[in-house]
């Protein structure tokens, strides 16, 4: 039992929720799905701001972007017909890889993004698809690219200053070929050795643009620029996939400082990059 809690608030808008946390500061905590936070509250917390009533459960597309509400559960992403058609269904597939059915039923997009633990499945896929997060501090909305959002400084502000309202994925990614894969002890293990997402914009059999993202290996998901460069403008085939995989391993080894404990994760990341690229090329 958490004896320090004194009140629960159930805001009905993101603006209201953000105003609350900005007013109460370290005495408040936001809870969305609650798969992690309810067991890890800081002793300063006196107010729980439960976001369950916010009208942020949409998955829709307009001319400019795919819009995913922050309160959508991971299970809703997994089952969405729209997401099944978007970028080879990579968002739905990444959602389906996350933990077990109960965690997917409770966990939300906002929580997965705002508490971007390195093992979370959604930040890598949103990073690969050039997504942005729309956040509010109660006064104005701010659009933050995922590459910035995952930086530690900004990450600390999510849930303490900003509420994530929705994730927007650019409309042009709808036709991209993408794939994801993870390597973990079991299918339902939340923690993974490595988690790979690739997205390729193809034209005339060549990669016009590619994104290669690895999660779980480093403290946050990263795009591998050298692996992406190995693909740019190259024909979509086994040779470029192998070259990108080798570049990915070299880049990861450099980023991990060639730490012995990460050697296996780096090598297997290369395998996943190659496999994901071959899947994306054939998609």
């Amino acid at each position: 039992m958490k004896n320090n809690i004194k009140q629960f608030c159930f805001p009905t808008s993101a603006k209201e929720a953000a105003s609350l946390i900005n007013r109460l500061k370290s005495k408040a905590v936001v809870v969305a799905g609650g798969t992690r936070l309810s067991r890890a509250l800081l002793p300063t917390v006196e107010t729980v701001v439960d976001l369950a009533d916010l009208p942020l459960k949409h998955i829709k597309a307009d001319k400019r972007s795919l819009r995913i509400g922050a309160l959508c559960s991971i299970a809703e992403l997994e089952k969405s017909p729209l997401l099944a058609q978007w970028a080879g269904g990579v968002i739905a597939k990444a959602a389906s890889h996350w933990s077990n059915a109960l965690a997917r039923s409770m966990g939300t997009v906002g929580g997965n993004v705002a508490r971007a633990h390195p093992h979370n499945n959604l930040p890598p896929v949103f990073l690969a698809l050039d997504a942005v997060a729309v956040c509010t501090d109660g006064r104005r909305e701010k659009t933050i690219p995922f590459a910035q959002l995952l930086e530690p400084g900004l990450m600390r502000e999510l849930g303490t200053r900003y509420i994530v309202v929705e994730v927007r994925v650019p409309a042009e990614t709808r036709t991209w070929s993408a794939a994801c894969a993870r390597l973990a002890l079991t299918k339902t293990s939340w923690e993974a050795y490595t988690n790979c997402v690739v997205a390729v914009d193809r034209k005339d059999g060549a990669a016009r643009r590619a994104a290669v993202v690895i999660g779980s290996v480093l403290p946050r998901a990263v795009r591998l620029a050298k692996a992406e460069a190995a693909l740019a403008g190259k024909p979509c085939g086994e040779a470029s996939a192998r070259a990108a995989a080798a570049a990915a391993v070299a880049e990861l080894e450099a980023l991990t400082g060639r730490a012995e404990a990460k050697a296996y994760a780096c090598r297997t990341s290369g395998v996943l990059v190659r496999r994901c690229l071959m899947e994306a090329f054939q998609g």
Partner: protein, 174 residues
Amino acid sequence: MAKTKGRGVLKAKDGRIAITVNINGREQAWTVAPGEYLLDVLRREGYKGVKKGCDNGDCGTCTVLLDGKPVLACMMFAAQAHRRALLTIEGLGTPDKPHPIQQAFVETGAVQCGFCIPGMVLATKALLDENPDPDEPAVRRALDGNLCRCTGYVKQVEAALLAAKRLKACKGGE
């Protein structure tokens, strides 16, 4: 202090919070400590079918349906269930008149020690409410958060498929 609409604000008085919950179709008013977990309150209020296993969100024995969706009662504060609908195993059937899912679990021999079964049955109900005609992989996936240490899950999967078949037949005959 904070002002909100909808379910509003629940503020502790003398270290207690008053909540109302629709549980198994009946409105109940409870007084709980603000930091109490739903699992502990349910068991204290007599809903002993909700089991305390890992108490950490890993085993699924405390599964209940919150507004029709499966959730882990050990991961939620009781106050979060304020003005929402809960279904526990006690609301599904009785020993004299078991729910078709419960009957299927008994008939297929899916119950050994029984500790995980309330969670399994409710996870099965959530699946069949959404997908009345699941295949075996869908059943296995829906039950992958409910751990059983007696069996290899084969009988529970058979039970869920049998229940689906019977419920479909019932609906077809209506």
